[in-house]
Each structure stands twice: as C-alpha cells, then as structure tokens.
Amino acid sequence: MNVLRWWWGLLLAFALVALVRVFLPLPFANEIIIFSIYTMGCNYLLGRIGFISFGQPAYLAVGAYATAFYLFYFGNNPYVGILIGVLAGIVVSFAIGPLFVRLRGDYFALVNLALAVIIFYLMQKVLAGITHGDNGLWFLTSMTSTPVLDLSRPDQFFIFAFLVAFALWAFYKYLDDSIFGACCLATKLNEDKVKFLGYSSFNIRLFAFVIANTTTALAGAMYAVYLGFVSPEITSPARAADPVVVTILGGVGTLYGPIVGSIVYTGMKDVLSKVLGNWELVIGFVLVFIMLAGEKGIWGTLEPLIKKTFLRVTGNAADRGGSSR
C-alpha cells in the first residue's frame, strides 16, 4: 500500500504536467515546469525547516549566471552549462550557509532578500564588464545541439525539464521519508529537543539550506539554457517573493504543491495581466484569503478531497474482494 501511495502521487503530478503540455502552448509549459523546480527549494525551506526566504532569486541568479558565463565565454554544451550552474549553487550555499542558518528565522528572511539585492547590483553595475549589465548575456545561438535530448529545441527541452522535475520529486519524497527529513521537521517544531537527542540543528539546517538552494540554482541554470539569455532582471527585488507566493498558493510542505502553485500562478499572471492588467490586486487578495482560510493552499485543500474520492473507488474494490466491513 505504501509503495502504491507514493507512486500514485507521482503519477498524478505526471498526469497534470502532461495535461498542461497537451492543452497549453509550449513556452507556458516550460515556464511552469521550471517555475515549479524553482519553488521546490522555497517550499522545502518553509515547509520542513520553517524558514521563510524572501531571497530565493539570489540563488536562482547564481545558477543562471554560472551557466551563462560558461555558455557565453567558455563552452557551448548546455548540459555542461547546467552542471556548472548546479555546482555554483552548491559552492555558494556552502559558503554562505554557515553564516545564514545560525540566524533567527525573522532575520533569515530579511538577510536572504538583502543577498538578492546585492547580487542584483553586482550583476547590473559592479560586474557590468563581464555581465553586460542590463543588456544581459545572449548565447541562444551559440549553444550546440546535443545528442539524445537536444536542449536547444524547446520541445525536447520540455522532456528534459520534465525528467529533472520528476527526479527531484522522487528525491524530495525520499528525503521526507528518511531520518534526515524527520530531523528537519523536528528542528522546525522544537529545536532544543532535537539538540537533546544529540543531533546538531546547525548541521541539519545547513544541509537543508544547501539542498534547497541547489535546487533553486538548478532552476536558474535551466532558465538560462531555456531562454538562451540572462539579465539582472532575474534577481530583481520586485520579484523576490514570487516563490513564496507560489509556495503558499500550492500549499506549504505538500510535495506536489510547487507544481500546482506554479500552474495557477503562471496562469493567473498570464490571464489576469491580459484581462485586467492588474494581477497584483488579485494575487494579493488571494494570498491573504488563503492565509486567513487556513494556509493549506490550493493543493492542501484538494489533496484530502482527491484522496477521499480515490479511497472510495479502491475501498469499494476492496469490499468486493471480501473484506468484512
């Protein structure tokens, strides 16, 4: 039953994304899948460690710019580019993690935002010689076609992005079921008691921080390859809260929340800015409403409903199988 349950979750997410791919234009589908990878890190930090980060764009930019530097100056294989983006994410999170994770939760949120601003100005002004400032780095045409999955073609990129997202879901699912996942949750609930058990809450937080931000950097690297272009806009403070908003929309801490949130958010933004030209108004009020209504988000509310329906179907089958209920 256990195995079945967690496969069902993945299949459901799979089906959802496939639906998106079939019914919506390709750029939209790609946007959603990268966005959901982007949100996974934030979702993990908020849902499992209880740390809210208003500075996820910082790590997105780290991945994106590392990839962009490689593809613009050194090589032209997008796979290597993404790999370098991920490595940059790991290095940066390990470098600043020890400083950040010992802060109290409120300061953590604020410091991350500050980091995003630093990186923004670093890329826009200070390193303008290398990053070409606001003009950004363009390398769409210099990327070579790769065998098996050609990342320079959007339709094949989608398949790659989809596989990556799938692997990440499996990975986060695995984390949740491991001792480490239990420790993370325990640190969120009561830090002192975790210390008494002999675990270092510092190490737990540090690793969660690295994992989450490396995921974000991966999303950044994929943005870079997909768009073939990176500019400081990616870490603009005005977009700092996007992943937090998506996390809330999808439901904090639910494994499939990021993708549901991404679909809704990207969709809302797209449709509303066309129809109303004022999506902030709606997003803001939806956010407040969700928080007041019980913070479970869209997926968090839907999940029990779907489970109930699903259980009724299988429950009936089990009854016919001869259980005495």
């Binding site: 809210i52 803001g284 407040v288 913070e295």
Partner: protein
C-alpha cells in the same frame, strides 16, 4: 580627495534619507516589538502617503496638507487592515504573519494601480529655498525632513516613557501575557501601535514624494533598504532603528560620492558584517521568543 562642498551636501542628503528611513522603520520596529509580526504592509502605507500627497497637492495646491492627508489615510488604512486581517492572526508564528502582510502589500499595490495608474507622477517640492552652510548650497526641504524625523523621535520617546499607554506598550514588548494578565486590553494596544506605525509610514511617503516620483512600486523599491535598517538596528529596538537609519542614509549618500554602484551595495555588505558579529543586530534583544 572628495570636494568639501560635495561632502557636506552628501552628509545632509544622507541625513534626510536617514530621516525617511527612520520614519518608515520605526513602525515596523514597534510592531515587531509588541506583536512579534514583521509588517511588510507598512510599505503600502508609505506608498499611500506618497499618493495622497500627490493627489491632495494637485487638488488643493498645498503640499503640507497633502502630507497631513497622507498621514491620516495611512493611519486609517492601517486601522482597516489591522481590524480585518491581523486581528485574526496575532497568535500565529512569524513566517505566517510575514507572508500575510506581504499579500496585503501586493494587493494594496494593485489597488494603487487601479486608482492612479502605472505612470510615475511628480510631486513639487514645497520649499524651493536654499541655505548656505559652510559655503555649500543646501535645499531647505532636506533640513525640514531631518527636523521632522528628530521631532518624531522625541515624540515617540515621550509617548513611550511618559504616557500610560506607552508604558503598557513597553511592558508588552517584554511580555504581552503579563500585560494582559493585569487586565489591560492588549488588543487595543496592538491597534494603537499599528495605527501609529501606519501613520508614520504615511508621513515618510508624503515627505519622500517630492524627492522622488510616486509610482505604484515605490514601496517595493525601498523594501530592501527598510529591511536592512531593521536588521542592522535590531528588530524591536527604537534606538537601534534611529542609529541604523542614519548610518544607512550616510552610507548610501557618501558611498555614491565615492563610487556610484557602491551606494546600493555598501549597506548590504555592512549588514552582513554586523550580522557576522552580532546575529541580532546592533541593539536587538537576544531573547525575543514568545
């Protein structure tokens, strides 16, 4: 090195910027101290203050009346938000209230866009006069801002130390349950604090409007600086907020004289440095847990 006149005008510029930061963050700091919320929606009242100043000065022709209107409307908006939203979530943990306040901020920006549109609007400077200080021409308006910030600090100090409500707020910053246990209606204290904070944010927006253009995202643009001020000063400390406001103001202003991109970067570098040494900021309390 740097020209003497440039330096003096830079210092005055920094002081006036610090004054604006102080007016904006003092509310944030008070709210954190008493209610343990990080009220990002203060930035909305700042924008509202700016826009009301714009509209009133356009209609009446008097910018000071506009600023007054900004304070009042900022306070009223804060009152409404406190009653409708925050009243229900005071006992939730910090990330929760922070996200909710962000939702209010974003939604409010949408409302502003609805009423005033997307185009940045200019607000005229109420005082055109210049004075000479040690041979440097200084706009009087900047000196007025510094003066107002100083007056507000004195006013807040007197309020907290000389009135019974202020004393209750100080006591609540230490332990809200004990204040409630005495029989004091702490929810009224919360409302009072929140409205004061909103009014001061509105004041900051109104005073800042003539120096910048008002545009719907003006709150988000100062978001990072406001965060930085409260981090450096320490959440919940009025004195820390004052010190760090003027510190950040000076760093931005003098920094831009030395090397323009430094203006935005240097404060953040200083903030990281301070957090390395003191994880709770300069004046932040070590034991703010509830």
């Amino acid at each position: 090195m740097i020209d003497m006149q440039l330096l003096i005008s830079g210092i005055i510029f920094g002081l006036s910027l610090g004054g604006i930061f102080f007016l904006m963050t003092i509310g944030l700091s008070l709210c954190f101290g008493l209610m343990r919320i990080i009220s990002l929606d203060q930035l909305l009242y700042y924008s509202i203050g700016g826009y009301i100043t714009y509209s009133v000065s356009l209609a009446v022709g008097n910018i000071w009346l506009g600023v007054l209107g900004g304070v009042i409307v900022g306070g009223l908006a804060a009152l409404a938000v406190e009653r409708i939203v925050f009243r229900r979530i005071y006992d939730r943990d910090l990330p929760f209230t922070m996200i909710t306040s962000f939702g209010v901020l974003i939604g409010g920006v949408g409302v502003i866009k609805y009423f005033w549109g997307l185009v940045p609007r200019p607000v005229p400077v109420p005082i055109d006069a210049q004075v000479f200080i040690i041979g440097t021409e200084i706009p009087v308006y900047r000196l007025v801002i510094i003066g107002i910030a100083g007056l507000v600090y004195v006013g807040i100090w007197l309020f907290l130390n000389r009135t019974i409500i202020g004393k209750a707020i100080r006591a609540g910053t230490e332990d809200v349950e004990h204040v409630e246990g005495l029989g004091i209606n702490v929810y009224r204290l919360f409302t009072i604090t929140f409205v004061i904070a909103g009014g001061l944010s509105g004041l900051a927006g109104g005073l800042h409007a003539p120096l910048i253009m008002v545009d719907p995202n003006m709150g988000l643009e100062v978001l990072a600086f406001v965060f930085m001020v409260v981090i450096i000063g320490g959440l919940g400390s009025i004195k820390g907020t004052l010190v760090s406001s003027f510190l950040v103001g000076q760093v931005v202003s003098i920094g831009s004289l030395i090397y323009a991109p430094l203006a935005q970067m240097a404060p953040f570098a200083i903030m990281l440095l301070i957090l390395l040494i003191r994880p709770t900021g300069l004046f932040g309390s070590q034991m703010l847990k509830r």
